[in-house]
Point group: C2
Chain length 311, copies 2
């Protein structure tokens, strides 16, 4: 890492590196972290690329919140407590203003997620961000996609389809929807640009859930991963899908398309054993049973789960 | 991660995920790793971008070896044992042939560095690779840039300048050098495309060294980081710089320029206390003393340390 680059990272990103488990933060060849006793490390890397995952001219602070929120969501899905993250930022050219705005969004994520930034790499190239999140779980307690059992309820942590509707709105593709209130626009766009990693569910998940996944590619696609990994089937009830007022105001077909097949919500899908009382905030949308595959009484027509290499 | 992408990663990259400390590899929301008892986690992320860090049309297997070698080198510099890595690959379009060649290089790295691949993200966009390496050190034993003391010898682990000369050769910029033997070409290019992370030095470093850094931006630049972090000065003797036969055959000025200011070697610069016998393979090139800054009896003219955002 050369002189000027080094300065950039220190000035803009180095202030976010403090944490009780950080022994050495940004500025050396590597960071040094202490894990809690009797715990295992959970790690996941996610990249977002301009033009693929977010539109050109996205506000830099939203590039940060989108990148970190999506990555941190994987920690929640594994029932891991946040430990730290590294961030590799590729920018077309050095841009103090851009970095300033980016670091505003980053700072909010570091604070709200308790996820200190302990390593950075700043390179020149087409705009992209790779975030690697690290977390810890008590040994043997990581929640996997496998583990759902027939009889388990399929639950989600919040309303679905908001982010996909937000992206459609941003891209000018909300066709047939004539009047969308300004407050709905703001809400939907925020759900796309500022996904909330559901780390508040980690203690409950660790104690009660059989399995979890974060919904990045759409409920149907991601629950299919759970069902396959768990060796069972799942039935989803479209009338049970929790919809925000903003999505509920869309046409019937659109709203179900977004809720079932829209990606980028980063809510959790959770398999909850039948004997466990559902806590407030966890919404049942289906049930696992013997067999394979995912069934639903509605088939999305307009959008498919987000597939970067899809057609 | 959607269906087809998922398949790609599994088929091409998922085979590299086994390791004694890997509890859960590629294929879930995150990987789960066990650290040895009484150890700390070391982590570092590095990105390489086509056109910035490696030329267009670089063989895919070299993209892999360059990316992983450079990242793993940070573990060596911290005196950490390799644990695992994640790899975020951004490709303009799905390309089976490209991925096959890439995975050849990746597989060699996984094997030779004992660094299982436990997480992957494959996205569509301009070609770049971000590798996050994780390692472990006994608690409190991570080697830092700070720690060199007046009287320490500055040593390096191998010949210097090879990678920079190799890159110049690849770019057709080895001007004034008329006849370069074919075997030299192959050697220099390999030093650029396939950097060797000096993990074999980790046990010795942990026992004896005061400080270390990996030479990514050129000896002068990187030793300046060490000296500054350590609060002392360093004098480098240009006549002591270890040169490969291929670099030694270049013109006098070129060879010193490459050895002092050429980046991408990923050898280690190490501060060795005066009372410690130098083992075979560690070459003294200078000495730390009271003061600040780096002095050398030769000032490079042609190339500066690699600065992604430099002019």
């Amino acid at each position: 890492m050369a002189g000027r680059e080094f300065e950039f990272i220190h000035r803009h990103l180095g202030i976010f590196g403090a944490g009780s488990q950080v022994r050495l933060g940004v500025g050396d060849d590597g960071a040094v972290l202490a894990l809690p006793p009797n715990s295992e490390l959970v790690v996941s890397s996610d990249t977002i690329v301009e033009g693929t995952h977010f539109p050109k001219l996205t506000l830099p602070e939203y590039v940060a919140t989108r990148a970190v929120g999506a990555a941190a969501s994987d920690l929640a899905a594994m029932a891991a407590d946040p430990l730290a993250m590294t961030l590799a930022l590729t920018l077309p050219e050095p841009d103090e203003l851009w970095l300033h705005s980016f670091s505003q969004g980053l700072g909010r994520c570091v604070q709200s997620l308790s996820l200190p930034l302990v390593g950075g790499d700043l390179t020149r190239g087409p705009l992209s961000v790779t975030v690697t999140v690290m977390g810890s779980v008590p040994t043997g307690c990581a929640l996997q996609r496998a583990g759902a059992k027939p009889g388990d309820r399929l639950c989600v942590t919040h309303t679905l389809g908001d982010a996909a509707a937000g992206l459609a709105l941003i891209m000018g593709e909300l066709q047939g929807e004539t009047e969308i209130p300004l407050e709905d626009e703001a809400f939907l766009e925020a759900r796309f640009y500022q996904p909330t990693a559901r780390l508040e569910w980690v203690p409950w998940l660790r104690q009660h859930a059989h399995s979890a996944i974060d919904i990045s590619d759409g409920l149907l696609v991601d629950v299919a991963h759970m069902a396959e990994a768990s060796g069972c089937a799942c039935t989803i009830d479209s009338s049970a899908l929790p919809l925000s007022p903003a999505v509920a105001r869309l046409a019937l077909e659109s709203r179900l398309d977004y809720a079932l097949a829209g990606g980028d919500d980063y809510e959790l899908a959770v398999a909850v054993p039948s004997g466990v009382a559902l806590p407030v905030g966890l919404i049942q949308v289906g049930e696992f049973h013997e067999g394979s595959g995912v069934q639903c009484d509605y088939s999305p027509t307009k959008i498919a789960g987000f597939d970067h290499f899809g057609t």
